[in-house]
């Protein structure tokens, strides 16, 4: 007969308000095999855990059920407590009577009955639990950082400074990301390039960092401590070892009219290019779609002028596979465009703002390029349409953000601050100009942030109008802004020279595809999900993968840098040990019963099943059976459900444990 201890938690009043915890304990106490059933105010508190530890010793318990919150919340806590008291942690289970019961039901009678059921099922399960020993796996002390923006750069530098090898993979030809595009940064108005480029150079020079630009993640296999990452190094058409970065090829390229993505289409670049002068690495790449040589086979100027002979038109994409122990995902964001909606996207365009067809209606990032000293206008604010200096500039906040009807209901977090910054930059550059801002709320929680916004209003005389804009249309060379001021309760019409839209911060296109390769989860917008909103804000639910920056949600630079360092700290914590203990929730084969049909091998998503030969003492092959490599097994249990003879069992979720619960229904 089992000796199971059941502890029913009140969770303050969270559970006891709707569930009669005393009755639950009393009813469960009557079950055979239950040696002790009691209730307590806060099981997770120190005294609560003490109660549990004491009971294990006093009542010689051989199984525990803690009826409290979700196991996703506190399973670890109570298993550790059990372990501390000498009980194998896998003999401790949680019955979720909070998230699945007290919080979702109102009727006390019903909730109590359900709670009793939930606990009862768990008691039956624990009776079939077996003591499990953790699995240890070696750790490859080498990290992969995906994304070379400020988040990726910070994380890579921190890990590398700690003495570990880092692979930094960036999709674009240069690292730098969005921060390299910014003119000046709030709330200090220091120049973005001035603080960014030294860090980029540090990355390039760091002995522990291997940089793969113009590269993408092709595939990720393995698990924490033991990932195998395949990186696609896209054909650069320039040999990185030979190139000296002299720039002659770019100067001589006859194809010069390609719109620069880095400059948001305001400037142009040649077909062989670096995105911006301070690029790291300073090695150009050939844009094969626009290169005359690749389109028609004629030209070849860059190869002819290249002294070291670095231009290589025959270069192919290269796949390299690297072992790493941890992954930091720092893929950043992109801005919502007001253009018509992409196919299959929940996002609707802004037809009332012209669907992006009015040339002098631009987004915030484009304004950054206009204001940047290294930008296409040399830092002069000039209209894209006719190059004139705009005297009336209207800024519109919350374009796309906080608009569930357009597909995005969240706040993009950075727009209030950068719009305030834009009004200041504008005023500094165009003294006789006037900035107007249509806004709903000014959200400025951050150190020195509200002061910054107030300065824009009070000292730089930006006119803030509380209200949104219904429509924008071209009228001659002006843009008519039809807005309203809800404080006054009147309509406002402004004939503007330039309109700047603070469009929403969105995850990168293809963020979901990368998440699927990594096996991490993402929310409805494709922002990556952290393991816990408060307590595990940088970890993914998938062990060994960490998040940094705006790929997780809109963030400004200070938050991004903090999170990147936090992710790096998590990686270093992992790397501080030589071996990693893994939960022993893995599949094992009953070799006696296995008939070697290998359905398990066919369905295993991890390739963890091998064919094992059983030989007699003379070395003759007797039979072949399946074998599950516990280091590789992810613990999904698909093999067990598929196995016709149930010769493979997932520890922790054996048929016996499951059936015990079903029988108790």
């Amino acid at each position: 007969m089992s000796r199971i201890g059941v502890f029913v938690c009140h969770c303050g009043e969270n559970i006891s308000r709707t569930v009669d915890v005393e009755r639950v304990a009393a009813e469960i106490g009557k079950l055979p095999g239950v040696a002790l059933a009691t209730d307590y105010k806060y099981m997770c508190s120190d005294p609560g855990q003490g109660l549990l530890k004491k009971a294990i010793a006093e009542h010689r318990l051989d199984g525990l059920v803690v009826a409290a919150c979700s196991p996703r919340m506190h399973e670890k806590t109570f298993r550790n407590a059990a372990k501390a008291a000498g009980l194998n942690p896998f003999l401790c289970e949680m019955a979720n009577i909070r998230e699945h019961c007290s919080w979702v039901h109102e009727d006390r009678e019903e909730a109590t009955a359900k709670a009793i059921d939930i606990v009862r099922l768990m008691v039956e399960r624990v009776k079939k639990d077996k003591a499990l020993q953790p699995i240890t796996v070696p750790i490859t002390k080498r990290a992969l950082v995906i994304g070379g923006g400020i988040a990726g750069i910070q994380a890579a530098l921190d890990i590398a400074d700690c003495g570990h090898q880092v692979l930094l993979v960036e999709r674009e030809p240069s690292i730098g990301g969005h921060m390299a595009q910014l003119s000046e940064t709030f709330p200090t108005l220091d120049c973005s390039q001035c603080i960014m480029t030294p860090k980029m150079v540090d990355v390039a020079n760091h002995p522990n960092i291997t940089l793969h630009t113009w590269s993408e993640i092709e595939n990720v296999d393995g698990y924490i401590g033991n990932f195998q990452v395949t990186i696609r190094k896209k054909a650069r058409s320039v040999d990185m070892d030979k190139c000296t970065g002299c720039g002659v090829c770019m100067a001589k390229c006859p194809q010069k009219k390609i719109k620069s993505t880095f400059d948001r289409g305001l400037g142009t670049r040649p077909a062989i290019y670096v995105p911006f002068p301070q690029a790291v690495p300073n090695t150009p790449v050939i844009d094969r779609e626009n290169c005359t040589y690749f389109k028609s086979g004629k030209c070849g100027v860059c190869a002819k002028v290249c002294g070291p002979g670095a231009v290589d038109y025959d270069q192919q994409d290269e796949l390299i596979t690297e072992p790493v122990g941890a992954i930091v995902v720092a893929t950043g964001f992109e801005l919502y465009t007001i253009n018509e909606k992409p196919k299959g996207s929940p996002i609707k365009g802004y037809g009332e703002f012209g669907h992006g067809t009015i040339p002098d209606v631009i987004d915030g990032m484009t304004f950054e390029r206009l204001a940047s000293a290294s930008g296409p206008t040399g830092g002069k604010i000039l209209r894209p349409s006719d190059g004139r200096e705009p005297k009336q500039v209207v800024f519109v906040q919350c374009v796309g953000s906080r608009a569930r009807e357009k597909g995005i209901s969240y706040c993009s977090k950075v727009c209030c601050m950068y719009t305030a910054k834009h009004t200041m930059l504008y005023k500094h550059k165009v003294h006789d100009g006037q900035a107007y801002v249509f806004f709903m709320d000014a959200r400025t929680p951050g150190k020195s942030y509200d002061e910054f916004w107030r300065r824009a209003v009070e000292e730089e005389e930006a006119v803030y109008i509380r209200g949104m804009v219904s429509r924008l249309y071209q009228k001659g060379d002006k843009i008519v802004v039809m807005g309203s001021d809800i404080s006054v309760g009147v309509q406002v019409e402004i004939e503007a020279d330039l309109v700047v839209l603070a469009t929403a911060v969105q995850p990168r296109q293809g963020a979901d595809a990368l998440a699927q390769k990594l096996g991490i989860s993402y929310d409805t917008y494709n922002f990556y999900s952290e393991a816990h909103a408060k307590l595990k804000p940088v970890e993914c639910a998938t062990a060994g993968i960490y998040l940094a920056g705006a790929c997780q949600g809109p963030k400004d630079i200070p938050d991004t840098v903090s999170q990147a360092s936090a992710a790096a700290a998590k990686v270093m914590t992992l790397f501080s040990r030589d071996q990693l203990e893994r939960e022993p929730i893995v599949a094992r084969v009953n070799e006696r019963n296995c008939v070697a049909c290998f359905y398990c091998k066919k369905v295993c998503p991890y390739g963890a099943v091998e064919e094992k030969e059983i030989r007699d003492r003379q070395g003759n092959l007797v039979r072949v059976v399946a074998y599950v490599n516990p280091g590789v097994c992810g613990g999904c249990g698909t093999c067990q459900a598929t196995c016709p003879s149930k010769s493979v069992e997932l520890e922790g979720y054996t048929d016996e444990q499951v059936m015990a619960m079903i029988e108790a229904l």
Binding site: Q516, P605, C636, E663
Partner: protein
């Protein structure tokens, strides 16, 4: 504000087999969001829908479930990459079989509920509960449980003759 609770003649027993990463988390979210749904459902947690054996569903019906829900991650979201995709085929086949032996498929619901879809969990559970409540108890398997011997005629002439010959 509490709505007055409706009393029903029949409260079905609903069993939910869910994966821990998506649907269980989604149900947790329904809890943390304080959404409300009928209390009929009993949740059994699995690492993945890939682990869920059709035998479990069968056994649940035999043990008195009036409705069964199987729920996991949306395709592409599986924590184990493809467990849910294997499950999708397995359950498509199993549905066909149950239908063929005459089980009303309205009693067996499959769904994808992600960790972010607390609202969908509530909707799925509520819809299923209400549907089963309207359908009434699942009598078929229960009736089988209580039957002891074959339902053939006991007083057939052949048997009578055999008896007389003893």
């Amino acid at each position: 504000m509490h709505e007055t609770k409706e009393k029903h003649d029949f409260e079905p027993k609903i069993v939910a087999f869910v994966c821990t990463w998506c649907t269980y988390a989604g149900a947790d979210l329904a809890g943390t969001s304080r959404l409300h749904y009928p209390s009929n459902v009993r949740v059994l947690k699995f690492p993945c829908t890939g682990r869920i054996d059709p035998v479990f569903i069968l056994r649940a019906f035999q043990r008195g479930a009036d409705g069964v829900l199987v729920s996991g991650c949306h395709p592409g979201d599986c924590h184990y990459m493809a467990g849910n995709l294997h499950a999708r085929r397995r359950f498509a086949a199993f549905r066909g079989l149950l239908d063929f032996v005459g089980v009303d498929l309205n009693r067996l619901q499959f769904s994808w509920v992600s960790a972010a879809e607390g609202g969908k969990w509530v909707e799925v559970v509520t819809d299923l509960t209400e549907r089963i409540r309207a359908m009434g108890p699942m009598e078929e398997f229960k009736a089988l449980e209580t039957e002891e011997c074959w339902s053939g005629e006991l007083n057939s002439p052949e048997l009578q003759e055999a008896y007389n010959n003893i």
